[in-house]
């Protein structure tokens, strides 16, 4: 297995890994509730959803309402993939 390692790819990957680990140094500890990521917008969502939207699942509230445009984009991605596979795989438009 190790005989077939691609050296240059390995170097590139390790380089990327080192940057990632280096970046983790200043990241908040795992599960830290005081981390900025979990404080600012996240807390707003948790606090406001019942009043603003009134669904129980916060993820759904964000998905369909707060960041609905992202979701529209996501559906378009799926649609694009469908047409893409159609365009690629089939020689003709078919029935």
């Amino acid at each position: 297995m190790f005989g077939r390692l691609n050296r240059s790819a390995l170097v590139a990957v390790i380089f990327i890994g080192i940057i990632l680990i280096w970046a983790a140094e200043d990241m908040p500890a795992y599960g830290d509730p005081k981390a900025p990521a979990n404080e600012y917008a996240a807390q707003m969502y948790i606090d406001r959803t019942p009043a603003d939207i009134g669904v129980d699942n916060i993820v759904t509230a964000i998905l369909a309402s707060y960041r609905g445009f992202d979701t529209l984009g996501e559906v378009v991605v799926v649609f694009t993939a469908g047409i893409s596979v159609l365009l690629l795989m089939r020689r003709g438009e078919g029935q």
Partner: protein, 144 residues
């Protein structure tokens, strides 16, 4: 696909339940885990099961290519249509609250979210089925 009575029977039994479950997942999205996307994928798996058990012509027969396309587009049209309706009610795009205020019906947003999730589900279901059909199409028939 080889003729296999057991597989066919079990599939025929299971497909409605899978589809029912998919619908539940879509509708349930607002209050629990799940939503349009997951439900759509599950719905698509029911067709995959049909495909495995009965082969391509059967699935095609129930679910023609143009229908797939219409469903795929229809889901997005529902989603975008809801968004555009909000503009008609002088809100921003996707601003469900605008409709709610304009019509004066409380909790309309929940309904909107359900409609949107349904749209997502329809598109995802159709597209996933279409992709799978495209992938296996070669074995069953010579594409045009």
């Amino acid at each position: 696909m080889r003729e296999n009575v057991v597989v066919r029977t079990v599939s025929r039994l299971f497909v409605p339940f899978i589809q029912l479950f998919a619908l539940y997942v879509i509708v349930h999205g607002a209050s629990g885990p799940g939503g349009g996307f997951q439900g759509g994928v599950i719905f698509a798996t029911s067709f995959i099961l049909l495909l495995i058990a009965f082969g391509l012509p059967c699935v095609r027969g129930r679910f023609g290519r143009s229908w797939i396309r219409a469903y795929a587009a229809g889901g997005i049209i529902i989603f975008a249509g809801v968004g555009l309706t909000c503009i008609l009610f002088s809100g921003n795009f996707l601003e469900y609250a605008a409709i709610e205020t304009a019509l004066g019906i409380p909790h309309l947003q929940t309904l909107m979210i359900d409609i949107v999730e349904a749209g997502i589900g329809i598109t995802v279901m159709a597209v996933m089925t279409s992709i799978i059909l495209d992938f296996v199409g070669k074995e069953e028939e010579e594409p045009l």
